[in-house]
Protein backbone atom coordinates (compact mmCIF):
# COMPACT_ATOMS: atom_id res chain seq x y z
CA UNK A 1 0.00 0.00 0.00
CA UNK A 2 1.08 3.55 -0.49
CA UNK A 3 0.04 6.73 1.21
CA UNK A 4 -2.24 7.94 -1.59
CA UNK A 5 -4.73 10.32 -0.03
CA UNK A 6 -8.42 9.69 -0.67
CA UNK A 7 -9.52 13.31 -0.65
CA UNK A 8 -8.24 16.43 -2.36
CA UNK A 9 -6.44 18.96 -0.20
CA UNK A 10 -8.43 21.99 0.92
CA UNK A 11 -11.88 22.82 2.19
CA UNK A 12 -14.98 21.31 0.63
CA UNK A 13 -17.48 23.92 -0.58
CA UNK A 14 -20.82 24.46 1.16
CA UNK A 15 -23.81 24.70 -1.16
CA UNK A 16 -26.53 24.85 1.49
CA UNK A 17 -27.17 27.39 4.21
CA UNK A 18 -27.10 24.58 6.73
CA UNK A 19 -23.76 22.71 6.51
CA UNK A 20 -25.58 19.65 7.84
CA UNK A 21 -27.35 19.39 4.51
CA UNK A 22 -24.07 19.27 2.60
CA UNK A 23 -23.00 16.41 4.86
CA UNK A 24 -26.31 14.68 4.33
CA UNK A 25 -25.91 14.72 0.55
CA UNK A 26 -22.53 12.99 0.96
CA UNK A 27 -24.02 10.44 3.31
CA UNK A 28 -26.98 9.68 1.07
CA UNK A 29 -24.78 9.31 -2.01
CA UNK A 30 -22.38 6.97 -0.21
CA UNK A 31 -25.37 4.92 0.93
CA UNK A 32 -26.78 4.88 -2.59
CA UNK A 33 -23.41 3.63 -3.85
CA UNK A 34 -23.33 0.88 -1.25
CA UNK A 35 -26.94 -0.03 -2.02
CA UNK A 36 -26.04 -0.38 -5.68
CA UNK A 37 -23.08 -2.63 -4.82
CA UNK A 38 -25.41 -4.92 -2.86
CA UNK A 39 -28.06 -4.92 -5.58
CA UNK A 40 -25.48 -5.82 -8.18
CA UNK A 41 -24.17 -8.65 -5.99
CA UNK A 42 -27.67 -10.09 -5.59
CA UNK A 43 -28.16 -9.88 -9.33
CA UNK A 44 -24.80 -11.61 -9.83
CA UNK A 45 -25.74 -14.24 -7.24
CA UNK A 46 -28.85 -15.15 -9.23
CA UNK A 47 -26.98 -15.04 -12.53
CA UNK A 48 -24.12 -17.23 -11.30
CA UNK A 49 -26.57 -19.66 -9.70
CA UNK A 50 -28.42 -19.88 -13.04
CA UNK A 51 -25.11 -20.64 -14.78
CA UNK A 52 -24.66 -23.49 -12.31
CA UNK A 53 -28.11 -24.83 -13.15
CA UNK A 54 -29.87 -23.39 -10.12
CA UNK A 55 -32.90 -21.28 -11.06
CA UNK A 56 -32.60 -19.06 -8.01
CA UNK A 57 -34.36 -16.07 -9.56
CA UNK A 58 -37.49 -18.02 -10.51
CA UNK A 59 -37.49 -19.82 -7.18
CA UNK A 60 -37.26 -16.51 -5.31
CA UNK A 61 -40.10 -15.02 -7.36
CA UNK A 62 -42.21 -18.08 -6.51
CA UNK A 63 -41.18 -18.07 -2.86
CA UNK A 64 -43.79 -17.26 -0.23
CA UNK A 65 -42.65 -16.68 3.33
CA UNK A 66 -44.28 -18.85 5.95
CA UNK A 67 -46.19 -17.22 8.79
CA UNK A 68 -43.14 -17.65 11.00
CA UNK A 69 -40.85 -16.11 8.39
CA UNK A 70 -43.29 -13.23 7.86
CA UNK A 71 -43.15 -12.43 11.54
CA UNK A 72 -39.36 -12.56 11.51
CA UNK A 73 -39.17 -10.22 8.51
CA UNK A 74 -41.63 -7.80 10.10
CA UNK A 75 -39.49 -7.74 13.20
CA UNK A 76 -36.36 -7.10 11.13
CA UNK A 77 -38.07 -4.17 9.38
CA UNK A 78 -39.24 -2.68 12.65
CA UNK A 79 -35.75 -2.87 14.12
CA UNK A 80 -34.29 -1.30 11.00
CA UNK A 81 -36.74 1.59 11.29
CA UNK A 82 -35.94 1.98 14.96
CA UNK A 83 -32.27 2.23 14.12
CA UNK A 84 -32.97 4.72 11.36
CA UNK A 85 -34.99 7.02 13.58
CA UNK A 86 -32.92 6.34 16.68
CA UNK A 87 -31.59 9.84 17.22
CA UNK A 88 -34.85 11.52 16.30
CA UNK A 89 -36.66 9.40 18.82
CA UNK A 90 -34.04 9.80 21.50
CA UNK A 91 -34.11 13.56 21.27
CA UNK A 92 -37.62 14.46 20.24
CA UNK A 93 -40.06 11.79 21.40
CA UNK A 94 -41.42 11.37 24.88
CA UNK A 95 -40.42 8.00 26.29
CA UNK A 96 -42.90 5.33 25.31
CA UNK A 97 -42.70 2.54 27.90
CA UNK A 98 -43.82 -0.16 25.42
CA UNK A 99 -41.16 0.75 22.82
CA UNK A 100 -38.51 1.24 25.48
CA UNK A 101 -39.13 -2.32 26.68
CA UNK A 102 -38.76 -3.73 23.19
CA UNK A 103 -35.56 -1.78 22.65
CA UNK A 104 -34.10 -3.16 25.88
CA UNK A 105 -35.15 -6.71 24.93
CA UNK A 106 -33.06 -6.33 21.73
Amino acid sequence: MSDVPLQAAGRRPAFFDDPGLDQLVSIVLELAGELWVVRERLYALEAVAADQGLALRQAIEAWKPSAEQQAELADMRRRMLEEMFRTLNQEHRPVDPATADVARAD
Binding site: S2, L6, A8, A9, G33
Partner: protein
Protein backbone atom coordinates in the same frame (compact mmCIF):
# COMPACT_ATOMS: atom_id res chain seq x y z
CA UNK B 1 -20.82 2.95 -17.86
CA UNK B 2 -17.09 3.37 -17.28
CA UNK B 3 -14.78 2.43 -20.10
CA UNK B 4 -12.94 -0.83 -19.52
CA UNK B 5 -9.32 0.03 -20.21
CA UNK B 6 -7.69 -2.35 -22.65
CA UNK B 7 -4.00 -2.08 -21.91
CA UNK B 8 -1.66 -3.99 -19.64
CA UNK B 9 -1.50 -1.33 -16.94
CA UNK B 10 -5.18 -1.66 -16.16
CA UNK B 11 -5.86 -2.41 -12.53
CA UNK B 12 -7.80 -5.54 -11.65
CA UNK B 13 -10.62 -4.16 -9.53
CA UNK B 14 -12.68 -6.39 -7.19
CA UNK B 15 -16.27 -6.98 -8.32
CA UNK B 16 -17.72 -4.69 -5.63
CA UNK B 17 -15.38 -1.89 -6.71
CA UNK B 18 -16.43 -2.31 -10.33
CA UNK B 19 -20.05 -2.07 -9.22
CA UNK B 20 -19.20 1.11 -7.28
CA UNK B 21 -17.52 2.56 -10.38
CA UNK B 22 -20.58 1.69 -12.48
CA UNK B 23 -22.70 3.55 -9.97
CA UNK B 24 -20.49 6.63 -9.96
CA UNK B 25 -20.32 6.63 -13.72
CA UNK B 26 -24.10 6.39 -14.04
CA UNK B 27 -24.46 9.07 -11.39
CA UNK B 28 -22.23 11.38 -13.44
CA UNK B 29 -24.13 10.58 -16.62
CA UNK B 30 -27.34 11.44 -14.80
CA UNK B 31 -25.91 14.71 -13.46
CA UNK B 32 -24.43 15.85 -16.78
CA UNK B 33 -27.48 14.98 -18.87
CA UNK B 34 -30.65 14.82 -16.79
CA UNK B 35 -29.85 17.11 -13.87
CA UNK B 36 -28.16 19.62 -16.18
CA UNK B 37 -31.31 19.73 -18.31
CA UNK B 38 -33.44 20.07 -15.18
CA UNK B 39 -31.31 22.91 -13.90
CA UNK B 40 -31.50 24.77 -17.21
CA UNK B 41 -35.29 24.32 -17.25
CA UNK B 42 -35.46 25.63 -13.69
CA UNK B 43 -33.40 28.66 -14.73
CA UNK B 44 -35.63 29.41 -17.71
CA UNK B 45 -38.89 28.88 -15.83
CA UNK B 46 -38.10 30.43 -12.46
CA UNK B 47 -34.68 31.90 -11.83
CA UNK B 48 -34.42 34.12 -14.88
CA UNK B 49 -38.04 35.39 -14.70
CA UNK B 50 -37.49 36.24 -11.02
CA UNK B 51 -34.30 38.11 -11.92
CA UNK B 52 -36.15 39.99 -14.67
CA UNK B 53 -38.96 40.97 -12.33
CA UNK B 54 -36.42 42.26 -9.85
CA UNK B 55 -34.01 44.00 -12.23
CA UNK B 56 -36.23 44.80 -15.19
CA UNK B 57 -33.82 43.00 -17.56
CA UNK B 58 -32.35 39.54 -18.10
CA UNK B 59 -28.97 38.67 -16.54
CA UNK B 60 -26.14 40.10 -18.60
CA UNK B 61 -23.20 38.21 -17.13
CA UNK B 62 -22.45 34.74 -15.87
CA UNK B 63 -21.76 36.25 -12.46
CA UNK B 64 -25.33 37.49 -12.28
CA UNK B 65 -26.59 34.05 -13.33
CA UNK B 66 -24.31 32.39 -10.77
CA UNK B 67 -25.42 34.69 -7.95
CA UNK B 68 -29.08 34.03 -8.76
CA UNK B 69 -28.53 30.28 -9.06
CA UNK B 70 -26.61 30.08 -5.77
CA UNK B 71 -29.94 30.68 -4.02
CA UNK B 72 -31.75 28.01 -6.04
CA UNK B 73 -32.36 24.63 -4.42
CA UNK B 74 -31.94 22.72 -7.68
CA UNK B 75 -28.55 24.30 -8.29
CA UNK B 76 -27.53 23.47 -4.73
CA UNK B 77 -28.43 19.82 -5.16
CA UNK B 78 -26.89 19.67 -8.63
CA UNK B 79 -23.65 21.12 -7.27
CA UNK B 80 -23.52 19.10 -4.07
CA UNK B 81 -24.21 15.87 -5.96
CA UNK B 82 -21.72 16.74 -8.71
CA UNK B 83 -19.01 17.66 -6.22
CA UNK B 84 -19.54 14.42 -4.31
CA UNK B 85 -19.61 12.41 -7.54
CA UNK B 86 -16.23 13.90 -8.44
CA UNK B 87 -14.84 12.78 -5.08
CA UNK B 88 -16.43 9.37 -5.53
CA UNK B 89 -14.75 8.96 -8.93
CA UNK B 90 -11.33 9.08 -7.26
CA UNK B 91 -12.40 7.10 -4.21
CA UNK B 92 -13.64 4.31 -6.48
CA UNK B 93 -10.17 3.74 -7.96
CA UNK B 94 -7.56 4.85 -5.43
CA UNK B 95 -7.46 1.93 -2.95
CA UNK B 96 -7.06 -0.64 -5.74
CA UNK B 97 -4.51 1.49 -7.59
CA UNK B 98 -2.50 1.90 -4.38
CA UNK B 99 -2.51 -1.88 -3.82
CA UNK B 100 -1.41 -2.48 -7.41
CA UNK B 101 1.59 -0.11 -7.30
CA UNK B 102 4.37 -2.71 -6.96
CA UNK B 103 2.84 -4.66 -9.83
CA UNK B 104 2.54 -1.46 -11.88
CA UNK B 105 6.21 -0.68 -11.40
CA UNK B 106 7.07 -4.19 -12.54
CA UNK B 107 4.84 -3.91 -15.62
CA UNK B 108 6.43 -0.59 -16.58
CA UNK B 109 9.81 -2.33 -16.65
CA UNK B 110 8.61 -5.21 -18.79
CA UNK B 111 6.70 -2.99 -21.23
CA UNK B 112 9.65 -0.72 -21.94
CA UNK B 113 10.76 -1.16 -25.55
CA UNK B 114 7.75 -3.14 -26.75
CA UNK B 115 6.45 -0.61 -29.30
CA UNK B 116 9.56 1.46 -29.95
CA UNK B 117 8.61 4.59 -28.06
CA UNK B 118 10.85 6.17 -25.43
CA UNK B 119 10.90 7.91 -22.07
CA UNK B 120 13.10 10.86 -21.09
CA UNK B 121 12.86 12.16 -17.53
CA UNK B 122 14.21 15.45 -16.24
CA UNK B 123 14.75 15.15 -12.49
CA UNK B 124 15.83 18.81 -12.34
CA UNK B 125 12.60 20.14 -13.79
CA UNK B 126 10.81 22.37 -11.33
CA UNK B 127 7.15 21.37 -11.16
CA UNK B 128 5.14 24.56 -11.81
CA UNK B 129 2.84 25.82 -9.08
CA UNK B 130 -0.34 25.24 -11.15
CA UNK B 131 0.46 21.50 -10.96
CA UNK B 132 2.35 21.18 -7.67
CA UNK B 133 0.25 23.53 -5.59
CA UNK B 134 -3.28 22.29 -6.10
CA UNK B 135 -5.21 19.02 -6.41
CA UNK B 136 -6.65 19.90 -9.83
CA UNK B 137 -9.99 18.18 -10.59
CA UNK B 138 -10.10 17.32 -6.87
CA UNK B 139 -7.74 14.45 -7.72
CA UNK B 140 -6.27 13.53 -4.32
CA UNK B 141 -2.52 14.08 -4.22
CA UNK B 142 -2.56 16.03 -7.48
CA UNK B 143 -0.82 15.15 -10.74
CA UNK B 144 2.80 15.19 -9.66
CA UNK B 145 3.04 14.08 -6.02
CA UNK B 146 6.06 11.83 -6.72
CA UNK B 147 7.76 9.94 -9.53
CA UNK B 148 5.76 6.80 -8.74
CA UNK B 149 3.25 6.07 -11.51
CA UNK B 150 0.41 6.42 -9.02
CA UNK B 151 -0.94 9.72 -10.34
CA UNK B 152 -0.95 8.32 -13.88
CA UNK B 153 -2.87 5.23 -12.82
CA UNK B 154 -5.32 7.20 -10.68
CA UNK B 155 -5.94 9.61 -13.56
CA UNK B 156 -6.31 6.92 -16.24
CA UNK B 157 -8.62 4.73 -14.18
CA UNK B 158 -10.44 7.74 -12.75
CA UNK B 159 -11.00 9.24 -16.19
CA UNK B 160 -12.49 5.92 -17.30
CA UNK B 161 -15.11 6.32 -14.56
CA UNK B 162 -15.44 10.11 -14.91
CA UNK B 163 -16.02 10.11 -18.66
CA UNK B 164 -19.06 7.82 -18.31
CA UNK B 165 -18.33 6.22 -21.67
CA UNK B 166 -18.34 9.55 -23.52
CA UNK B 167 -14.63 9.79 -24.34
CA UNK B 168 -13.88 6.82 -26.57
CA UNK B 169 -12.61 3.26 -26.19
CA UNK B 170 -9.19 4.25 -24.83
CA UNK B 171 -10.27 7.65 -23.53
CA UNK B 172 -8.80 8.89 -26.78
CA UNK B 173 -11.76 10.42 -28.56
CA UNK B 174 -10.44 13.96 -28.31
CA UNK B 175 -7.14 12.96 -29.92
CA UNK B 176 -8.90 10.84 -32.53
CA UNK B 177 -11.42 13.57 -33.33
CA UNK B 178 -8.82 16.33 -33.62
CA UNK B 179 -6.27 14.31 -35.61
CA UNK B 180 -8.94 12.98 -37.96
CA UNK B 181 -10.30 16.47 -38.40
CA UNK B 182 -6.88 17.54 -39.64
CA UNK B 183 -6.48 14.41 -41.76
CA UNK B 184 -9.84 14.80 -43.51
CA UNK B 185 -10.01 18.57 -43.67
CA UNK B 186 -6.43 19.05 -44.88
CA UNK B 187 -5.63 15.85 -46.82
CA UNK B 188 -2.50 17.31 -48.41
CA UNK B 189 -1.02 18.06 -45.00
CA UNK B 190 1.18 15.11 -43.99
CA UNK B 191 2.82 15.78 -40.63
CA UNK B 192 6.10 13.95 -40.04
CA UNK B 193 6.61 15.08 -36.42
CA UNK B 194 3.83 15.72 -33.93
CA UNK B 195 4.09 17.11 -30.40
CA UNK B 196 1.38 16.72 -27.72
CA UNK B 197 1.84 19.20 -24.86
CA UNK B 198 0.47 18.61 -21.36
CA UNK B 199 -0.23 15.08 -22.49
CA UNK B 200 -0.89 13.54 -19.05
CA UNK B 201 -1.02 9.77 -19.72
CA UNK B 202 -0.65 10.18 -23.49
CA UNK B 203 -4.20 9.06 -24.27
CA UNK B 204 -4.43 11.63 -27.07
CA UNK B 205 -0.83 11.27 -28.27
CA UNK B 206 -1.49 7.60 -29.06
CA UNK B 207 -4.54 8.72 -31.04
CA UNK B 208 -2.41 11.06 -33.20
CA UNK B 209 0.07 8.23 -33.73
CA UNK B 210 -2.73 5.93 -34.86
CA UNK B 211 -4.14 8.55 -37.25
CA UNK B 212 -0.69 9.32 -38.69
CA UNK B 213 1.21 6.02 -38.33
CA UNK B 214 4.14 7.35 -40.38
CA UNK B 215 4.66 10.32 -38.06
CA UNK B 216 7.02 10.49 -35.09
CA UNK B 217 4.92 11.48 -32.10
CA UNK B 218 6.29 13.15 -28.98
CA UNK B 219 4.37 13.84 -25.78
CA UNK B 220 5.43 16.07 -22.91
CA UNK B 221 4.18 16.66 -19.39
CA UNK B 222 5.83 18.17 -16.32
CA UNK B 223 4.85 15.19 -14.18
CA UNK B 224 7.25 12.24 -14.14
CA UNK B 225 4.41 10.11 -12.74
CA UNK B 226 2.31 10.83 -15.82
CA UNK B 227 4.96 10.40 -18.52
CA UNK B 228 6.28 7.22 -16.90
CA UNK B 229 2.79 5.76 -16.81
CA UNK B 230 1.99 7.16 -20.27
CA UNK B 231 5.08 5.54 -21.75
CA UNK B 232 4.05 2.12 -20.39
CA UNK B 233 0.49 2.68 -21.56
CA UNK B 234 1.50 3.55 -25.11
CA UNK B 235 4.00 0.67 -25.30
CA UNK B 236 1.28 -1.68 -24.10
CA UNK B 237 -1.10 -0.41 -26.79
CA UNK B 238 1.64 -1.05 -29.35
CA UNK B 239 1.80 2.62 -30.35
CA UNK B 240 5.25 4.24 -30.37
CA UNK B 241 5.27 7.62 -28.64
CA UNK B 242 8.28 9.48 -27.27
CA UNK B 243 7.51 10.82 -23.80
CA UNK B 244 9.49 13.61 -22.17
CA UNK B 245 9.19 15.23 -18.77
CA UNK B 246 9.13 18.81 -19.99
CA UNK B 247 7.41 22.16 -19.47
CA UNK B 248 5.41 23.42 -22.47
CA UNK B 249 6.35 27.02 -21.65
CA UNK B 250 10.06 26.19 -22.11
CA UNK B 251 10.34 23.50 -24.77
CA UNK B 252 13.62 21.69 -25.04
CA UNK B 253 13.26 21.14 -28.80
CA UNK B 254 15.03 22.96 -31.65
CA UNK B 255 13.37 25.64 -33.78
CA UNK B 256 11.35 24.40 -36.77
CA UNK B 257 11.25 20.79 -35.59
CA UNK B 258 7.53 19.86 -35.58
CA UNK B 259 4.68 19.88 -38.10
CA UNK B 260 1.96 19.75 -35.45
CA UNK B 261 1.92 21.11 -31.91
CA UNK B 262 -1.21 19.86 -30.18
CA UNK B 263 -2.78 20.26 -26.77
CA UNK B 264 -6.00 18.98 -25.28
CA UNK B 265 -7.79 20.42 -22.25
CA UNK B 266 -4.43 21.90 -21.36
CA UNK B 267 -4.64 25.68 -21.81
CA UNK B 268 -7.30 26.04 -19.11
CA UNK B 269 -4.82 24.64 -16.59
CA UNK B 270 -2.41 27.52 -17.33
CA UNK B 271 -2.37 31.18 -16.42
CA UNK B 272 -2.91 33.49 -19.39
CA UNK B 273 0.74 34.51 -19.06
CA UNK B 274 1.83 30.88 -19.45
CA UNK B 275 -0.55 30.32 -22.37
CA UNK B 276 1.22 33.18 -24.18
CA UNK B 277 4.60 31.64 -23.38
CA UNK B 278 3.42 28.27 -24.64
CA UNK B 279 2.08 29.73 -27.90
CA UNK B 280 5.36 31.55 -28.53
CA UNK B 281 7.22 28.30 -27.89
CA UNK B 282 4.82 26.37 -30.12
CA UNK B 283 5.45 28.85 -32.93
CA UNK B 284 9.20 28.56 -32.42
CA UNK B 285 9.30 24.75 -32.67
CA UNK B 286 6.82 24.57 -35.55
CA UNK B 287 8.17 24.32 -39.06
CA UNK B 288 6.86 26.86 -41.55
CA UNK B 289 3.55 25.43 -42.77
CA UNK B 290 3.06 23.59 -39.46
CA UNK B 291 -0.09 23.67 -37.35
CA UNK B 292 -0.73 24.61 -33.73
CA UNK B 293 -4.02 23.04 -32.63
CA UNK B 294 -5.58 23.18 -29.15
CA UNK B 295 -8.68 21.27 -28.15
CA UNK B 296 -10.41 23.33 -25.50
CA UNK B 297 -13.60 24.54 -23.94
CA UNK B 298 -15.29 27.20 -26.02
CA UNK B 299 -14.67 30.86 -25.15
CA UNK B 300 -17.20 32.67 -23.02
CA UNK B 301 -17.65 35.31 -25.72
CA UNK B 302 -19.37 32.66 -27.89
CA UNK B 303 -21.89 31.62 -25.23
CA UNK B 304 -24.89 33.19 -23.53
CA UNK B 305 -24.53 34.03 -19.82
CA UNK B 306 -26.21 30.81 -18.66
CA UNK B 307 -23.94 28.53 -20.70
CA UNK B 308 -20.89 30.52 -19.57
CA UNK B 309 -21.97 29.98 -15.99
CA UNK B 310 -22.70 26.30 -16.62
CA UNK B 311 -19.24 25.56 -18.03
CA UNK B 312 -17.40 27.64 -15.45
CA UNK B 313 -18.85 25.51 -12.62
CA UNK B 314 -15.54 23.65 -12.70
CA UNK B 315 -13.60 26.82 -12.01
CA UNK B 316 -15.53 27.47 -8.83
CA UNK B 317 -16.07 23.96 -7.54
CA UNK B 318 -13.65 21.53 -9.20
CA UNK B 319 -10.27 23.07 -8.39
CA UNK B 320 -9.66 24.58 -11.81
CA UNK B 321 -8.30 27.99 -10.82
CA UNK B 322 -7.37 29.17 -14.34
CA UNK B 323 -10.38 27.77 -16.13
CA UNK B 324 -12.47 30.89 -16.26
CA UNK B 325 -9.64 33.34 -16.90
CA UNK B 326 -8.79 31.26 -19.96
CA UNK B 327 -12.40 31.09 -21.11
CA UNK B 328 -12.74 34.84 -20.76
CA UNK B 329 -10.01 35.30 -23.39
CA UNK B 330 -10.50 35.80 -27.10
CA UNK B 331 -8.78 32.70 -28.56
CA UNK B 332 -7.68 34.50 -31.70
CA UNK B 333 -6.13 37.33 -29.70
CA UNK B 334 -4.15 34.75 -27.68
CA UNK B 335 -2.94 33.14 -30.89
CA UNK B 336 -1.89 36.46 -32.37
CA UNK B 337 -0.06 37.34 -29.15
CA UNK B 338 1.97 34.17 -29.78
CA UNK B 339 3.20 35.70 -33.04
CA UNK B 340 0.84 34.01 -35.50
CA UNK B 341 -0.80 36.02 -38.29
CA UNK B 342 -4.54 36.76 -38.07
CA UNK B 343 -5.12 35.18 -41.50
CA UNK B 344 -3.52 31.93 -40.29
CA UNK B 345 -5.99 31.50 -37.40
CA UNK B 346 -7.92 28.21 -37.35
CA UNK B 347 -11.08 27.48 -35.39
CA UNK B 348 -13.20 24.35 -35.53
CA UNK B 349 -15.92 22.31 -33.93
CA UNK B 350 -16.14 18.58 -34.54
CA UNK B 351 -18.45 15.72 -33.61
CA UNK B 352 -16.95 12.74 -31.81
CA UNK B 353 -14.94 10.56 -34.20
CA UNK B 354 -15.34 7.44 -32.04
CA UNK B 355 -19.08 7.23 -32.36
CA UNK B 356 -19.66 7.66 -36.10
CA UNK B 357 -18.53 6.02 -39.35
CA UNK B 358 -15.31 7.52 -40.72
CA UNK B 359 -17.00 8.43 -44.03
CA UNK B 360 -19.65 10.45 -42.18
CA UNK B 361 -16.92 12.09 -40.12
CA UNK B 362 -15.01 13.02 -43.29
CA UNK B 363 -18.16 14.86 -44.42
CA UNK B 364 -18.76 16.49 -41.04
CA UNK B 365 -15.36 18.20 -40.92
CA UNK B 366 -16.38 20.43 -43.83
CA UNK B 367 -19.26 21.98 -41.89
CA UNK B 368 -18.55 25.50 -40.63
CA UNK B 369 -17.68 25.75 -36.91
CA UNK B 370 -20.78 26.14 -34.73
CA UNK B 371 -20.51 26.81 -31.02
CA UNK B 372 -23.54 25.90 -28.94
CA UNK B 373 -24.54 24.64 -25.51
CA UNK B 374 -23.05 21.18 -26.18
CA UNK B 375 -19.66 22.45 -27.37
CA UNK B 376 -16.88 21.08 -25.22
CA UNK B 377 -19.38 20.05 -22.59
CA UNK B 378 -19.25 16.41 -21.56
CA UNK B 379 -22.71 15.08 -22.36
CA UNK B 380 -24.13 12.58 -24.81
CA UNK B 381 -24.44 15.39 -27.40
CA UNK B 382 -20.90 16.77 -26.99
CA UNK B 383 -18.88 18.11 -29.88
CA UNK B 384 -15.34 19.30 -29.43
CA UNK B 385 -13.95 22.79 -29.96
CA UNK B 386 -10.49 23.51 -31.26
CA UNK B 387 -8.45 26.52 -32.27
CA UNK B 388 -4.92 27.34 -33.31
CA UNK B 389 -3.00 28.61 -36.31
CA UNK B 390 -0.79 27.68 -39.21
CA UNK B 391 2.74 28.93 -39.01
CA UNK B 392 3.29 31.07 -42.09
CA UNK B 393 5.03 29.03 -44.78
CA UNK B 394 7.20 31.99 -45.79
CA UNK B 395 8.56 34.49 -43.30
CA UNK B 396 6.54 37.68 -43.52
CA UNK B 397 8.38 40.55 -45.18
CA UNK B 398 9.93 42.86 -42.62
Amino acid sequence: MPVELSHDLMVAFPRDTLARQDFVSSLRGYILNDMAAGMKARYEAQVRPAFERREGRPPRTQDEVHAAMRRDLYFRYYSAVRYNAQEMVWRSVIPSVASALPELEHKLETLDGRAGGSLTLDPDLEIPENVAGIDVHLMPGGYAPSDAPTAGAVYDNGLAVFSAGLMGANLDDIGLSMSNYVKHRFPEFRPARILDCGSTVGHNATAWAMTYPQAEVHAIDVSAALVRYGHGRAESLGVPVHFHQMDATALDFPDNSFDVVFSSMFLHELSVKDIRKFFAEARRVLRPGGLLLNMELPPNQALDPYDQFYLDWDCYYNKEPFYRAFRDQDPQALIEAGGFRPEDYVQLTTPQFSYMPEAAYAEAVNAPPAIGQDTGRLSSAVHWFGFGAWKAAEPTAA
